[in-house]
Symmetry: C2
Subunit: 216 residues, 2 copies
Amino acid sequence: MKNSMIHQLDDQMVLISQYYPDIYTQLVSEPGEAKQQRRRKKSKGEGSRSGVMRKRKLSEEQVNLLEQSFGNEHKLETERKDKLASELGLDPHQVAVWFQNRRARFKNKKLEQEYSKLKTQYDIAIVEKCRLENEVIKMKEQLSEAENEIQKLLLERNCDGVSSNSPISTSSFTMDQPPFLGEFGMEGMLMDNLFFIAENTYNYQEGLEWVNPVYI
Amino acid sequence: MKNSMIHQLDDQMVLISQYYPDIYTQLVSEPGEAKQQRRRKKSKGEGSRSGVMRKRKLSEEQVNLLEQSFGNEHKLETERKDKLASELGLDPHQVAVWFQNRRARFKNKKLEQEYSKLKTQYDIAIVEKCRLENEVIKMKEQLSEAENEIQKLLLERNCDGVSSNSPISTSSFTMDQPPFLGEFGMEGMLMDNLFFIAENTYNYQEGLEWVNPVYI
DNA sequence: AAGTCCTAGGTAATAACTTAA
DNA sequence: ATTAAGTTATTACCTAGGACT
């Protein structure tokens, strides 16, 4: 959102790719009893990253502390950052980066959680809706029956004495709900107490080509 | 997991920070009309790496072609990969990486889209549910009225002639729906045609500390 | 006091790497 | 080898607040 479309005016600029020293970049291959360290052939690619690489992963201990800190507070003030950095033996910048990435991960996880939560509620709502639809149908039948009964009784009465001034007759409910059954046309949906599942309410998974991002 | 206890054997080692040759890694400063490039002091970081830096961003043109290719097919067979790589002047590995990352991004975007789609449907379902609940309430009132009417008529008739064999009386509907109003207790919700909004159906946003991942 | 510069920290997007299947 | 998932790092932008002119 926001202003993500004015991106290509000034993309270029130089810069040192790493202004940060290697102090904090250790090797990757960590413990492990020589875990078969197979293949570093890769010679095929002309590039073939020249063997040496620094460690990118933080130790479990470091991550634990970072996680704990993140749990307390997602934002990172300078002070906390420096404190953490020195406690962990990391560059403060690395700590900052870790927090940034952690927030991004958090956002994604949250979205996933929200999605399934919403999905659950949606499903519940749909079931409830079906229940209510069935209830409405049943009640319409009952109303219709009641109406018939009333008509019959009125007729009966009016045939006895020809007097036509009934106190309550033709009250509102007798007419403002015409006796049709269900508002969905007939689809054989009068199963008595069973759920009436409308399949069409579930189709939120179709083509997904709408995901193509902007990119010009 | 694994064997994570022998952690500090090999922290130092070197580390070249660029294991990728510069063959396909060009400089960042591309076209650009020198946009004020101010500030690059940053001398604070002592290291400041041996000046050389490779370009990390792909050119707009490269991205365009990659996007187009991705649009046709998310998967990348070797053949297509090599073809693309030579067309773009990139390492095939780079192309592979790009596709991997692109697929991941796609997945996230998709999730976002799915979420808002589901949200829309959920909201619709909730409104519909409220409508149905109101309808049910109204019909219950009507049924109640009808029942009263029937009782009255029956009484009237039975008072006239004391004969008690009515053909239809005490049919099912007269009793299997006791005349209560709404199944929600009384909360003053009998506004006639207005929506009855149940606020509690919207609370899918509360605390969100459930997002904390495992991490021991 | 206003305008400009600078710096830190934040977000979003992306590249590259690691791991496991 | 390829892929998905997860990590680490980099780039580009934006904003607030202090400093400088």
